[in-house]
């Protein structure tokens, strides 16, 4: 496996240029700049809000200095609340080529698009010189979520991802999972998987936050349709989601933007702190993927039963399809057919090994289905981790 070496010693599996809008008012210009280039090389991310938010700043800083990112063009309208100077300095300090285009100063839409495209064309040339180095399993951080789940997800794709995670953890990879709201009911089991009592305590704290938050938002309960699909209890449903994590000990609980310090299995706490302020913890699957990427994940494993088609900006997404009928219908979007377990033509271990092989192929340049189709979904919303937020979320 081959990685792109960054000045800070981290290794990426892609060498993407990001065009980053710092408020929705700059989104169109950013998209137009990127549209002249292949989506696999130049991608758009951004933050739509005009008012500043510590979480959003920390996310943008983590994403713009992610090892899969080779260079960054910031696009500012000029009067938004986002601190473009500080973000630009952080990117420059990471050793990446970067520029800040301020639409109000550059002279409007047309001139900013032309300036941006010229910068990117020149930067694409200079990225040819990015050093390529051998990449080991211990250099990787792999994230997982599920989306568009159905009754097959907990039987095939999720436990198969768990088998894959078990082998990755043995080889020193950091494996991260999230979606605390989906795990309510298995807190005792998860705590028993944490060798460190302080980590077990963090697991309880995270899941109780999730349960209270979901209650406040009016969702998160066990639905009648679950029982029709054969699920009897809340803890059974949650264990189906937890199955993606495999059998490893939980080594720590991270907040978004915190990177695992070593290999092993880590939970990413996606639940905001304090009373609910900005709504749902994460508004959709891509918001979760963005947090896992901000925690350093270079590659993401996405379990789906009904068939999600999304990819993501920055990190390749491997779609693992739980349901053989869905795979039949949406095969162009699916990387792995975990439904073969239901057909009796593959075992959980065999599908786990296929997922591991797919990761290795990506690290040798192979495109995932969503990358080849040009997917680059991205979303970032307001969130607060309050006064208890970890140091990684502080601005300085």
């Amino acid at each position: 496996m081959i990685g792109y070496l960054r000045p800070d010693g981290r290794k990426g599996v892609r060498d993407t240029i990001l065009v980053v809008y710092l408020v929705e008012c700059a989104h169109f210009v950013a998209r137009e700049i990127a549209s002249a280039f292949a989506p696999q090389k130049v991608q758009v991310i951004g933050f739509p809000g005009c008012y500043p938010n510590d979480y959003a700043f920390a996310m943008m800083r983590a994403l713009c200095t992610h090892p899969n990112v080779g260079a960054v063009a910031l696009v500012s309208l000029g009067c938004e609340g986002f601190d473009r100077g500080e973000l630009g300095s952080a990117i420059a300090a990471s050793g990446r080529p970067t520029t800040t285009l301020t639409i109000q100063e550059t002279g409007g839409t047309r001139r900013t698009i032309e300036t941006g495209r010229r910068w990117i064309a020149a930067t694409l040339e200079s990225l040819q010189a990015t050093p390529r180095v051998p990449l080991a399993w211990a250099d990787l951080i792999i994230g997982t979520i599920c989306g568009g789940s159905d009754g097959t997800s907990g039987i095939t794709a999720n436990p198969a991802i768990g088998r894959c995670f078990d082998t990755l953890v043995r080889d020193g990879t950091a494996c991260i999972f999230t979606e605390a709201g989906e795990l309510v009911g298995c807190e005792d089991f998860m705590a028993s998987r944490s060798p460190d009592p302080a980590v077990a305590d963090e697991v309880y704290r995270c899941l109780s936050k999730a349960a209270t938050y979901d209650h406040a938002m009016g969702h998160g309960s066990f639905a009648p349709g679950n029982a029709e699909g054969g699920l009897t209890t809340q803890e059974e449903k949650s264990m189906g989601a937890y199955a993606k994590s495999g059998d490893s000990a939980i080594m720590g609980v991270l907040r978004p933007c915190e990177r695992p310090a070593r290999g092993g299995l880590f939970l990413v706490d996606d639940i905001p702190e304090g009373a609910p302020v900005f709504g749902y913890p994460n508004v959709n699957d891509n918001a979760k993927l963005a947090e896992l990427i901000a925690c350093g994940a270079q590659i993401l494993l996405f379990s789906t039963g009904r068939g999600s088609v999304v990819g993501s900006a920055i990190a390749p997404v491997v779609k693992i399809c739980a349901n053989p009928d869905t795979f039949e219908r949406l095969g162009d979007d699916m990387d792995i057919n975990a439904g073969a377990i239901l057909s009796g033509t593959a075992t959980l271990d065999q599908v786990g090994a296929q997922i591991r092989d797919a990761i290795a192929d990506i690290c040798r340049g192979a495109e995932t289905k969503s990358e080849a189709l040009g997917h680059q979904e991205f979303i970032l919303s307001y969130k607060t981790y309050g006064a208890l937020g970890p140091s990684c979320l502080a601005r300085t």
Binding site: I155, R205, S208, Q234, E236, G274
Partner: protein, 107 residues
């Protein structure tokens, strides 16, 4: 080794005392599980659970290697396991000590 196990019923963890149906199965069907025959007492739809061993009333139901509930009556090998013979063992801890622990820390 005896006869190969039927892939239509799988145990997700070796510690489990239930198997999951990978297809819709009919009452009276005989399948091989753990090398021995197992007869189904009811129609079992895809995704539903079947007892892999005899399970005593009050014993844990184990799936994914974890307790997912408690048997409310004795369940024989091959019987369908669902709301009629098991219940949740989950106490919503967020309403109890864990919530106190969390709130105590944030205030």
């Amino acid at each position: 080794m005896g006869v190969a196990d039927d892939p239509r019923l799988i145990a997700l963890s070796p510690r489990d005392n239930v198997c999951v149906a990978c297809a819709d199965l009919a009452a009276g069907e005989r399948l091989i599980v753990d090398g021995a025959p197992l007869g189904l007492d009811a129609n079992v739809a895809l995704g539903h659970k079947v007892a892999r061993h005899d399970i005593a009333a009050g014993a844990d139901i184990v799936k994914y290697g974890a307790r997912i509930g408690i048997a409310t009556r004795a369940i024989g090998r091959g019987q369908h396991v669902h709301v009629h013979n098991m219940k949740s063992g989950y106490l919503p801890t967020y309403t109890l000590d864990a919530a106190h622990r969390y709130l105590g820390r944030t205030e």
